[in-house]
């Protein structure tokens, strides 16, 4: 065993891996935000609340409908996504032409209301959600014990992220979407129902948040405020990656997870702040973010 900066290599490797796992959550959440911002120009501050709703939905499905974790992975994003679409149809669609600030304020207000309602009914200390039996246990990698569940999270997150990137950047559907963002009138002239496409996109972004929520339920505390702490970090990730850049969101999500993981070894007290320090530096040097196109 050798040492790097006074830290045993074993510890370092395990922290890198843990960082990657946390990065999977950042990536999933920032991906949803990037999709919504890139396609709708809405800064979706309800994202944290929607992530929380995904986790609660997993709890409800298990508790009241007897549906397992695997069902929740499909059902929760669909239900929460539908909820998102209702919000988009009834409220958000009126804001596209206005300044970003209006969308931000509306979604922030909605997030507070949703959290308040959940807190009122379920309290703040959270609900228990057991891990599915098939994912219990773990592998001894020599330098660390890797729980099967965490390995599953990394793989699932990578698949979903890359799949989303592929659909938006490399398929015809994605091309329509990107075209609709650039010039909705022209795309509509080709006979494409742009408003419906936008609604579905928002629903998809929200569904991604709910999916991350379901994946978080077995390992993190399922409580109404679980999203509000995370969302700020995720926004920083999106800003660093470049607002609206899909690949940027994915790469910085994983990257910052790793950097945060390392901070937890070298200077744990700063582990909540390190991402914001990086954000400040990136904004000074590249205001559009690492992967953003300069406006």
């Amino acid at each position: 065993m050798f040492e790097i900066f006074g830290i045993p290599s074993n510890a370092l490797f395990s922290q890198l891996l843990i960082g990657l796992i946390n990065g999977s959550f950042y990536a999933l959440l920032s991906l949803g935000l990037a999709v919504i911002f890139g396609m709708l120009n809405i800064i979706n501050f309800t994202h944290g609340a929607q992530y929380m709703m995904g986790a609660f939905m997993a709890f409800f499905l298990l508790q009241y409908a007897g549906l397992s974790y695997w069902w929740a992975l499909i059902v929760a994003p669909v239900v929460v996504g539908l909820f998102g679409m209702i919000i988009e149809r009834t409220m958000l669609q009126w804001l596209y032409k206005l300044d970003h600030l209006y969308g931000l304020l509306l979604t922030f207000g909605l997030a507070l209301i949703i959290e308040g309602v959940f807190r009122n009914y379920f309290g703040s200390s959270g609900l228990p959600y057991a891990m599915p039996d098939s994912l219990r246990g773990g592998q001894n990698l020599g330098f660390m014990f890797l729980p099967n569940y965490r390995a599953w999270v990394v793989v699932a997150s990578l698949v979903v992220c890359l799949g989303t990137w592929f659909v938006i950047e490399r398929t015809r559907l994605g091309a329509y979407l990107r075209a609709a963002t650039e010039n909705p009138t022209l795309v509509r002239a080709f006979g494409i129902n742009v408003p419906r496409m936008i609604t579905l996109t928002y629903g998809f972004g929200v569904g991604l948040a709910a999916l991350a929520g379901v994946m978080a339920a077995p390992i993190y505390n399922v409580s109404p405020q679980m999203g509000s702490d995370l969302i700020i970090v995720v926004f920083a990730v999106v800003v660093i990656g470049g607002m609206g850049s899909i690949m940027g969101a994915i790469v910085t999500g994983f990257g910052l997870g790793v950097i945060e993981g390392l901070t937890k070894v070298f200077f744990p007290e700063a582990s909540n702040t390190v991402i914001f320090v990086i954000m400040a530096i990136v904004l000074l040097i590249r205001p559009a973010g690492l992967f953003g196109r300069t406006a």
């Binding site: 309290g123 703040s124 959270g126 014990f145 993190y220 405020q225 937890k264 007290e269 582990s271």
Partner: protein
């Protein structure tokens, strides 16, 4: 002459009578975390407990009129002291109670001292409140970090857990709990191998737990609370910390945390509390009344402390009459012995520390739990005289002066 004396006696009797029935107006402020990680251990439940205390007291003392106000300190010391300043200066609040989060409680205690009002701590844990930072306007009711360390810490060392690693919440409370527990561990022949300080409200503890794992310590002490403790224990069970032979010591675990973890994950955990809803018939009856406002929830020791603290405060106010300042009321509260249905008979010491028994519990297995809220086995009762830090050791300036 005889006539005159009887007249005087009559007048005196009348004066006495009017003092007895004198109308007493009291205003109490319940300040708590209403909307974040500590809202279930204190929060709206503390307000419900305060209402019960007021109802019980005014039933026997119809001449006492109590007004209750409440506020959310958002776990920010500046917000908390702002609220308390406003309450004391312009809203005629006589006493502030609860205040989970030691950072906010220490700030509140300062304000109470400056304005010569009264502060009864139920929610906060830092033993500094009756130690170096004590003052004549603060009474610490329910529990503190020394008592938690002495209960859980000592029990763990005695059963072989003699090397420790701490996961500590990086603020006043966590530091106090870590310090008090380290002392107990070392005093009983154990050793502290290391510690890591994490920010309040951390989501993922796996990285910290891996550091704890590499330390090879027999016990991982969780010097944190609420959501942080829940996330630590969940991650520990996932990373096989306990099955790997290390033990977890939840230094501050509430029944609401056990509910959130589920017995499957929490079983076997040792913890110390001063009050448990299911301990006896009196507590169960009180819980039933409390649930009238908080259906489906179970009260914590903090809620019980708010109830008992208000009752004792009102007793002192009636004994004093009029509108005395905070120091006078605190002195009176220390002078008369405490006696209430939830904590039984007890006393308040010169440093402001309320003394009562503490209990060492173990979380039941899922198969042993018969009904909702059936969480604990009682392992040991720590008598009041041993449960809290000896008066001389606290370095409170009020002692021995």
């Amino acid at each position: 002459m005889k006539h005159l004396i009887s007249m005087a006696a009559l007048a005196a009797a009348l004066a006495c009578g009017s003092a007895q029935a004198q109308q007493l107006n009291v205003k109490i402020g319940v300040m708590s975390d209403m909307s974040s990680l500590y809202a279930d251990i204190g929060g709206p439940g503390s307000v419900a407990a305060a209402k019960l205390a007021v109802a019980d007291f005014t039933k026997d003392h119809p001449n006492v009129k109590v007004e209750l106000v409440s506020a959310d300190h958002q776990n920010k010391p500046d917000v908390g002291s702002g609220i308390v300043n406003k309450w004391f200066d312009s809203e005629n609040v006589d006493m502030v109670i609860d205040v989970p989060n030691s950072g906010v409680a220490l700030a509140t205690s300062q304000v109470a001292s400056q304005k010569n009002k009264l502060f009864i701590v139920s929610g906060a844990a830092a033993s500094d409140l009756t130690g170096p930072k004590c003052n004549a306007n603060t009474i610490h009711w329910t529990y503190d970090t020394w008592m938690l360390a002495n209960g859980t810490g000592k029990a763990m060392v005695k059963t072989g857990g003699d090397t420790w690693f701490f996961l500590t919440a990086d603020y006043a409370f966590g530091h106090a709990l870590e310090r008090d527990t380290s002392e107990v561990v070392e005093k009983n022949g154990g050793k502290v191998l290391g510690k890591v300080r994490h920010p309040l409200n951390t989501n993922d503890f796996s990285s910290f737990l891996l550091q704890a794992q590499t330390s090879k310590a027999k016990v991982i002490g969780l010097a944190n609370a609420g959501g942080d403790t829940i996330n630590s224990i969940k991650a520990a069970s996932e990373f096989g910390i306990v099955s790997g032979g290390q033990k977890l010591a939840g230094l501050l675990v509430f029944s609401s945390d056990v509910a959130a973890l589920g017995l499957q994950t929490a079983q076997g955990l040792s913890l110390t509390e001063t009050w448990y809803w299911d301990a006896n018939d009196v507590n169960r009856a009180w819980t039933k009344r409390w649930q009238g406002e908080r259906p489906g929830k179970f009260p914590t020791m903090i809620h019980a402390g708010v109830y008992a603290g208000i009752l004792h405060y009102l007793k002192a106010r009636v004994a004093l009459g009029g509108n005395p300042d905070g120091k006078t009321v605190a002195a009176k509260m220390k002078e008369i012995p405490t006696d209430d249905q939830l904590f039984g008979k007890g006393t308040i010491r010169a440093d402001g520390r309320k003394i009562h028994d503490a209990y060492l519990f173990e979380v039941k297995k899922p198969s042993e739990s018969k009904y909702p809220g059936d969480f604990y086995h009682l392992k040991a009762t720590i008598p009041a005289a041993e449960a809290f830090r000896p008066l001389k050791e606290g370095n409170c300036p009020l002692v021995g002066s």
